[in-house]
Amino acid sequence: MESSLESSLESLRAPIVLAAVGLYMVVCIVVGVWAMRRTRDSRDFFMAGRHLGLVLTGVAMFASMMSGFGFVGGPGLVYSMGMSSVWMVVNVALGFAIADFLLAKRLRLFAGLHDSISLPDAVGVRYNSDTTRLLTAIAILLGVLGYLATQTLAMATVLRNILGHTERFADVGLVPSVVISTSVLVFYCVTGGVIASIYTDLVQGAVMVVAALLVFFTALTVFDGGASAAVAAMVSDDSRSMGPWGTVGMISCISWFFMFSLGTAGQPHIVTKTMMIRRFGDYRFVPLLSVIGFALSALLWVSVGLVMRAQVITGAHPELSSPDAAAPEFLQNYAHPLLAGLVFAGLFAAIMSTADAFLNIGAAALVHDIPKALTGRSFERELLWARVGTVVIAVGAALFALYSYYQNQRLVALLGAFGWGTFGAALVPAVAIGFNWKRATPLAANVAIATSLVLNFSIEVFDLSLPHGLHGGTLALLVSLFLFFSISYASAPPKLAPGVEEILDA
C-alpha cells in the first residue's frame, strides 16, 4: 500500500514540482497586488514607509543575502571545487557583525533625520556632494545589473530544469524560461515595491530554511555510509579537495573570506534594510536572526554540493552537464517528490528574494538618485517612474543574463562573486568607513568609488589573472580603502553640516 503510494507519487514528480513552483509564483503575485494597496508614495515603495519590525527586518536581511548565488551557484561550486567555496559561507557572522557595528545605527539615523530613502541619498547628505551621490548611484546600478543578471540566469536554469522533466515542455529553451521568471518577478516588484518584496521575503526566508534543513537531512542519507563515507570517498580521490582550502588554494579562499566579510558592509540590498526598521531599539536581535537564518539555509549549499561530488566520483551518478546543475539534479533524483516540490519553490524563493531587493535599489538609483544628483530634484511623479524604472532594469538584466550566458558560460556563483566584489569595493570606503569618520572627504569617496569600478571591471572584462588565485574584488577593495584613507589624510578636514556631525557623533 505504502509502496504503491510512493510509486504513484514518484510518477507524478514532474507535475508536483511544477504545481509547487506555480503555487509559489501565484503567492508572489497575490502579495504584489496586496502590497500595491499599501504603497502610497515613493517612501513606501523604496523604504516600506520605515515601518518594519524585528522579525521582518531580520528575515529580509538574510533572505536578501542568500540568493540564487547560494542556492544554485553554491552547490555547484562545492561540487566543482570541494571545500573552497565554504569560505564564502563561514564569513557570514563576521560579515553581519561588521555591517551592524559600522552602519546599522548611522544609516537609520540618516533615514530618520534626513528622510533618506536610498543609500545614495544618505551618501549625498553625508558628503554634501552631488558627485558622490551620482557615483554611488552609478556603482549601485552597475552592480545591480550584474548581480540581477546572476539571479535571472539562476532562476531560468532552475525553471528550465523543472520544465525539462515534463512531457509538454521538455524542449523549452533558456529564453522562454528567462521571460516567464522575469515576468513574475517584475509583476510583484512593480505593483508592490519594497513592501511586496519584504513580505515575500518573510515567506521566502521561511521556505528557504525549511527547505535547506530537509535537503540537508536527505543529503545525509543519499550516500551509502552517510556523510563520513561520502567525504572519505572524496578524500581518496583527491585528499586536498576536502581539506580546508579545497582545490583552488589558500589565497583564493582567504581573499574570498575578506571580500565576503568586510564587503557585507557595502551590499546596498542588505544594509538598506537597517533604514526600514520602525524603532531602532528593536534592531538588537536582528543580527542573531539573520546569522542563524543564513547558516541554516547554507546547509543546502554545502550538503548538496558534497553529495553530488561524491556520487559522481564513485560512479553512482553520471557526470553533471554543468556544476550549476548540482542542486536541480539532486532534487530531481534523490529528494522525495513532495520535498522536491517544496525545495524547488525554495530555490525560487532564494533567487527572487534577492532579485526583488536589487530591483528596488536599482530603481531607486535610476529614478530617484541619478536625477537628483544631476538636476537637484527627483521626478515629479516618482512612484510612477519607480515602477517604470523597475521594468527597465529587469528587462536590461534579463538581456544581460542571456548575453553573458551565450557569450561566456560563466558559473552562476562566480558571476555573483563579481557582483558582490563590485558593491563591496565601491561602497565600503565611502559608506562603511565614511559614515564613521569625520575626516573623510568627498574627493576621497569619489576617487575610491571610481577606482574600484575601473579595477573590478578591468579584471573581469579583460580576464586578468591575479597571482596565486587572488580574488579581483579583494584587490579592488584594498586599493580603494588605501586611496580613501590617503586622500582624506592629505586633504584639509571637511566642514560638516551640523545635521551630519550630530549623526557621526552619535
Binding site: 565554504v86 557583525a97 551592524d100 530618520g112 578524500v235 586536498r240 589565497i251 575578506f258 531599539g281 562603511a432
Partner: protein, 186 residues
C-alpha cells in the same frame, strides 16, 4: 594612537602582503586543475610554497585584527563604547587562536586521514571552531547594544530630533506654500 590610524596601518599591511604575492613564483596549477576523469570537477594543484603559507597566515591574522578595530572604531564615540573593548578583544583573541590552530593542523597533515564529524581535521576546525568563534562578535553586538550602541537615551534623543525635523519641514512647507510661483521654479 587613534583607531583610524591603526586601521589605515592595517590596510596598508594587507596591501603589502597582497603585493608580495607577485614576488613569489607560482607553482603549476595553483588554482586547481581539471579532474582526469570528470571535466566538470577540479582537483587541487601543487601545494602552496612556504612563502605563500606565511603570507596567507599573516593576511588572515591582520584581517581579523582590522575587522575588530573597525568595530571598536564604530562605537568609540558612544557613552558605553569603551565597555565593548574587552569583549571585542576577547573575540579577536579566540578567533586568532582558531586561525593559528587551523594552520598548525593543516601544516601537520590535516589529521592524517582521521575524520572529525565527517571532515578532515583542518576542515573540521574551520567549520566547527573558527566559524562559531566569529559569532562572538555578533554576541558582543547583541549584549552591548543597550549600553554601547543604542540605549534609552539615544532613543529619546532620536525621537526628539525627529519631532524637531518634522516641525522644521512643516515650517518649510508653509513658507513654500506662501510662495507658490517660486516653488514651481524650484
Amino acid at each position: 594612537m587613534k583607531l583610524d590610524r591603526i586601521a589605515f596601518a592595517l590596510i596598508s599591511a594587507l596591501l603589502l602582503l597582497v603585493g608580495a604575492l607577485w614576488l613569489v613564483p607560482e607553482p603549476p596549477e595553483t588554482g586547481g586543475s581539471v579532474h582526469p576523469q570528470f571535466a566538470t570537477l577540479q582537483i587541487a594543484g601543487a601545494p602552496a610554497p612556504p612563502a605563500i603559507l606565511l603570507i596567507a597566515a599573516a593576511f588572515g591574522a591582520v584581517m581579523f585584527v582590522l575587522l575588530a578595530v573597525l568595530m571598536a572604531w564604530a562605537v568609540r564615540r558612544s557613552a558605553g563604547g569603551p565597555r565593548l573593548t574587552r569583549p571585542l578583544v576577547v573575540a579577536t583573541l579566540v578567533v586568532l587562536a582558531m586561525w593559528a590552530l587551523l594552520f598548525l593542523v593543516d601544516g601537520a597533515g590535516n589529521g592524517e586521514g582521521r575524520q572529525y564529524l565527517a571532515f578532515p581535521a583542518g576542515t573540521a576546525i574551520l567549520v566547527y571552531l573558527l566559524f562559531p568563534a566569529t559569532g562572538l562578535f555578533n554576541l558582543a553586538f547583541v549584549l552591548g547594544f543597550p549600553r554601547a550602541i543604542f540605549g534609552r537615551r539615544d532613543s529619546e534623543w532620536l525621537e526628539r530630533r525627529q519631532q524637531e525635523r518634522e516641525q522644521e519641514r512643516g515650517r518649510e512647507r508653509a513658507t513654500a506654500a506662501a510662495k507658490p510661483g517660486r516653488d514651481r521654479e524650484g
